[in-house]
């Protein structure tokens, strides 16, 4: 299979294609798609063309196929960037269109590209207004997400990073729930504070690097004083911490996800920021990342996120907000894994990013299905619906068990690796983090009980319809992914092993590593 794909030259064009295709498709969807809401209200004549949602789905499906081709050409035995493309772009400042994947970004790209069509199909009737524009924004957002995962050039990365922002702002603001524009504005302002400071850091780093290159590999070789590293790491980490909603920068996430349409809540839940920490913040500024104080602060924040997020999840009545807080708690595990700085913990963080993408999305889709049927996401409005909608109940139980981290589901593998890896470095922290699993069981099982198994007291719930065949298709896809990764995570682990090793080696042996330079506190 790999030989066949290589004979097509896939490695040379698949990444640019994955970035450009959604943009082209967005134009087609915007101009050629039909707005179904115009058919329903007979006031206006229907515009021609196929349903915009179908076009969007088809475009996302093509994107998913491209990502599978990328997976196919990837050679796990080879170290470094693969399928990389390096085209000139802005010659005067040395920015290049430079993209590539390694064992860390490959799973993220494939996960995202597969998730998008599934999420659209799973929330098919969630958005019915102005669907051509909706589809166009979703496709632009896809480009942004994929771009963040594959960019090796820091300027290109910044462009993709901001490209996630504006479409999300529109999607949450226009298609979201009431009093939405406030939530979306808050999201943008929070994110901008971080990302603009990161832009200053990128400019400064580029300048120190001679002003001729933005490539990650080149900039890693720029020698930085500990103090500079510290400031730049701060700017990068702030951007990534806000984006991934690390405590204490998490407050925007539940509001935005609560207001957003289901599909956008799914994309907001992707741990893009955590990936960026592994890809940029740690390798570029290893001395700062490994510095005892900074590392301890971040590790403690991660622990707080694990426990506090789980406790807040326990306290929520609204299902969407509960899922948000559970994803904040999961992010704690991921950050713990990133900054425990052992190979196992980093590997665990990588697979946890994928897992949390899968399970959080599945939860949001399930909640969205309830919302589309009942118009509410308040847990009190449900109860005892397992008898009415058995298939839904099975799916929700499975996904919730994966959130809890039950062995045999994907959630277990990531958290287990993170905990093992952390135990080697910081045993006490590992023990505290383990308590997060217990809290997860508390909120997860309690939610299951209140939604599925209490008394069936609401009359509206007696007539709920079970999952349609479309929803069954999507959810069984998620179920397969959860169980497959739970029993056979090697596909990802094997690819992430080498790259995780590289991250650790960057911290230990790169020109800027802590062993060579004195610690920050001793700097002049």
């Amino acid at each position: 299979m790999r030989d066949f794909l290589l004979s097509l030259g896939v490695a040379q064009w698949v990444l640019p294609a994955m970035l450009l295709w959604p943009v082209l498709a967005a134009v087609v969807v915007r101009f050629g798609g039909r707005d179904i809401s115009r058919n329903e209200s007979e006031a206006e004549a229907p515009s021609g063309g196929p349903d915009a949602r179908v076009l969007t789905l088809a475009a996302l499906f093509v994107e998913a196929l491209l990502s599978l081709a990328l997976w196919g050409v990837y050679d796990p035995a080879v170290r470094g960037w693969q399928a990389s493309v390096d085209w000139p772009w802005l010659s005067d400042i040395g920015a290049r269109f430079s993209v590539g994947v390694d064992g860390i970004s490959l799973p993220m790209v494939v996960m995202t590209a597969l998730l998008m069509p599934a999420a659209l199909l799973g929330s098919w009737n969630n958005v019915r207004l102005r669907t051509p524009a909706f589809g166009a924004f979703v496709l632009l957002l896809t480009t942004g997400l994929v771009g963040v995962f594959v960019s090796l050039d820091l300027l290109l990365f910044y462009l993709a990073w901001e490209l996630m922002l504006i479409p999300t702002y529109f999607l949450v603001g226009v298609w979201g729930a009431a009093e939405q524009s406030r939530a979306s504005l808050r999201y943008v302002l929070f994110t901008l504070v971080g990302s603009l400071l990161m832009l200053v850091a990128i400019a400064a780093l580029w300048n120190l690097g001679g002003g001729t290159t933005f490539h990650l590999d080149d900039l890693r070789r720029v020698t930085l004083t500990p103090r500079t590293q510290f400031l730049m790491f701060g700017a990068f980490f702030l951007a990534f911490g806000v984006k991934s909603a690390l405590v204490p920068f998490h407050t925007w996430l539940p509001d935005a996800q609560g207001a957003a349409p289901t599909l956008v809540a799914v994309t907001l839940g992707l741990k893009v920021g955590a990936y960026a920490v592994l890809r940029f913040a740690i390798p570029l500024f290893p001395a700062a990342a490994a510095h005892e104080t900074i590392r301890t602060v971040i590790l403690v924040l991660s622990l707080i996120a694990i426990v506090y997020g789980a406790l807040l999840a326990l306290a929520q009545r609204d299902m969407k907000r509960m899922v948000s807080y559970s994803s904040i708690s999961h992010l704690g595990f991921i950050m713990l894994g990133c900054f425990a700085l052992t190979q196992q913990s980093v590997q665990g963080a990588v697979i946890s990013i994928v897992n949390s993408g899968i399970t959080t999305s599945a939860l949001f889709l399930l909640v969205g299905m309830l919302e589309d049927r009942r118009g509410t996401t308040d847990m009190a409005a449900f109860g005892g619906i397992a008898r009415v909608v058995p298939v839904f109940a099975v799916m929700l139980t499975l996904v919730m068990l994966s959130t809890i981290g039950l062995p045999g589901t994907n959630g277990f593998i990531g958290e287990f690796l993170v905990l093992i890896g952390t135990y080697a470095e910081r045993p006490v922290m590992a023990v505290i983090a383990t308590s997060g699993v217990v809290f997860a069981a508390m909120y997860g099982l309690r939610a299951l009980q209140r939604i599925l198994f209490d008394t069936l007291d609401e009359p509206a719930n007696r007539t709920l319809t079970d999952l349609t065949s479309r929803e069954r298709l999507v959810m069984s896809g998620f179920a397969v992914a959860i169980l497959y990764l739970g029993f056979a995570p090697q596909a990802i682990l094997q690819r992430a092993a080498r790259a995780s090793q590289d991250v650790i080696e960057a911290v230990r042996f790169s020109p800027n590593a802590a062993v060579i330079l004195p610690s920050v506190s001793e700097a002049p």
Binding site: L192, A203, G210
Partner: protein, 521 residues
């Protein structure tokens, strides 16, 4: 004999300006040749305005061609160093001509509906443009003064050109009074500097500064007065107070002209004077401009937050952009002038487009356009709302969706961080105030996209002229946002002639730390 050669050289060096003036005077004659009868509600001679506007646009295009030819031939300035012949002048000329042509398009777009513009309007705009081109070329304080006066007098009249509007009259008087005061400061500063140095030529002053590092009080007071005068002209805080009232009262095309083109020319002259004459004295004025930049960025952005009147919001936002441009002046380097040229191109395109949208939405009423007028614009006029979103995102400096705006900010940041003494604190202030600006720029977007349209609001009529303006500026912004290299090449070639023996500017900031890192490398 020498006088004859001199004047021949002078004519050659000022060819674009002379061409433009001649054209404007011919248009002026044409406008008064055959006075038309005055019908109520329509300005005198309004029938001829459209023709003259079109003629003016063509004249701008012809002058631009002359400028490009002059640039290509590398026409030098005069030997006595009074008139510049460098790329900076030609680049600013091109930006000014682009802005003037787009302003004329705005006039036409507004005129096609209201008929409120008399034929003098395009003539005055062109004369103001001549003043700006003189400003861009001036390497002598006297020429700077002539340029500023030529530009300002025309713009004072333009601000009050709508005689039936009380707000317009107020704006015009305010602008005239405050503008005259600032010109007074400027002139007094020039006089003191002449007294101290014995020269009005920028090069001469620069030589004197290099020879007399002690400077002396008369010179310092002169620089201070000059700074105040320029700060008035570019609307830097705390000398910005006239801006919102004047912008709000003047007709919208004139406001756009003031916000983009006048600012461009004033900055060109400001930058050239600071770089050529006073760069040796940088330690003395550096911190003043530094604080001016910080104050302007903060004041502009914070005051814009509370505005619901869109023109006032854009006025405060234009003050904020003055602050960003001042950052490029602070670093006083060639990277800074590159950034100024690039920034003004992007800012001109976005401002003209945004005012085009306001003109359409305002529908010729003599009252301010507020945010509520934009409510639900996306549902009524989806593409116009999309274009407006691109303009405000360009103001905000978002990459890709805001097009060129991002690179405009990038080059300012780059200049700030690349300076011999990196201005890291200024860069951080710049981005943090940009976050503040996001709040009001996104308010415009959320009003257009996330609010329902007002019931019973008539669909605004879009003239073909306005349509092409909006489409053109939006596409230009987006395409140059993906591939800004052509403009940056132009901006790069636009390095003003500066002496090389420059003393590095002082650093009142944490920039020292980063510099240490630079030297370590």
């Amino acid at each position: 004999m020498g006088g004859v050669i001199q004047s021949g050289q002078l004519f050659r060096a000022l060819a674009p300006e002379l061409l433009m003036s001649a054209g404007a005077l011919v248009m002026l004659l044409a406008s008064v040749w055959n006075p038309q009868r005055n019908s109520p509600g329509v300005a005198e001679g309004a029938e001829k305005t459209s023709t003259l506007v079109r003629f003016g646009i063509v004249l701008c295009a012809i002058t631009a061609v002359v400028v490009i030819i002059a640039w290509g031939d590398s026409v030098s300035g005069t030997d006595d160093l009074r008139i510049a012949g460098d790329g900076f002048r030609w680049a600013i000329d091109l930006v000014v001509l682009l802005g003037t042509a787009l302003s004329l398009v705005l006039v036409e777009a507004d005129h096609q509906r209201s008929g409120a513009y008399s034929p003098e309007v395009p003539v005055l705009m062109l004369l103001a443009a001549v003043g700006m081109m003189v400003l861009a070329a001036a390497r002598d304080m006297m020429f700077v003064f002539i340029g500023i006066e030529l530009m300002s007098l025309a713009v004072y009249v333009l601000a009050g050109v709508n005689r039936r509007s009380g707000r317009g009259a107020e704006a015009s008087v305010k602008y005239f009074l405050l503008g005259s005061v600032s010109t007074g400061f400027l002139l007094y500063g020039m006089a003191l500097i002449f007294g101290a140095t014995g020269s009005t030529r920028l090069a001469g002053i620069g030589t004197w500064v290099a020879a007399n590092p002690a400077l002396g009080p008369m010179f310092i007071v002169g620089i201070a007065l000059l700074l105040v005068g320029f700060a008035f002209k570019v609307a830097a805080a705390p000398f910005h107070l006239w801006t919102p009232d004047v912008y709000d009262g003047a007709p919208l095309p004139v406001t756009a002209f003031m916000a983009a083109v006048v600012k461009t020319a004033a900055f060109a002259s400001f930058g050239r004077v600071m770089l050529e004459a006073f760069v040796g004295a940088a330690p003395r004025w550096h911190s003043a401009v530094w604080w001016l930049a910080v104050a302007t960025m903060v004041v502009g952005n914070v005051l814009a937050l509370s505005q619901r009147n869109l023109v006032r919001m854009l006025a405060y936002s234009s003050i904020a952009h003055t602050g960003y441009l001042l950052v490029a002046i602070v670093v006083a380097s060639t990277a800074g002038t590159t950034a100024v040229v690039f920034y003004t191109v992007s800012y001109t395109l976005a401002t003209m487009g945004a005012f085009g949208v306001l003109i359409i939405v305002g529908a010729g009423r003599d009252r301010a356009v507020t945010l509520d007028d934009l409510a639900g614009l996306w549902i009524v006029r989806p593409w116009m709302a999309t274009a407006m979103a691109v303009y405000v995102l360009a103001f905000l400096g978002m990459p890709l969706v805001g097009g060129m705006g991002f690179f405009a900010k990038w080059y300012i940041l780059q200049a700030a961080l690349q300076a011999p003494a990196p201005q890291t604190v200024l860069a951080v202030v710049l981005v943090l105030t940009s976050v503040v600006s996001a709040a009001y720029y996104l308010l415009v977007i959320s009003t257009m996209f996330m609010r329902p349209p007002v019931e019973g609001h008539a669909l605004p009529w879009v003239s073909p002229m306005a349509q092409s303006l909006i489409a053109g500026t939006t596409l230009a912004l987006l395409i140059l946002g993906l591939y800004p290299t052509p403009v940056i090449r132009m901006a790069r070639r636009a390095l003003p002639t500066i002496e090389t023996d420059r003393t590095p500017a002082p650093q009142p900031s944490a920039g020292r730390r980063l510099q240490a890192a630079t030297t370590a490398r």
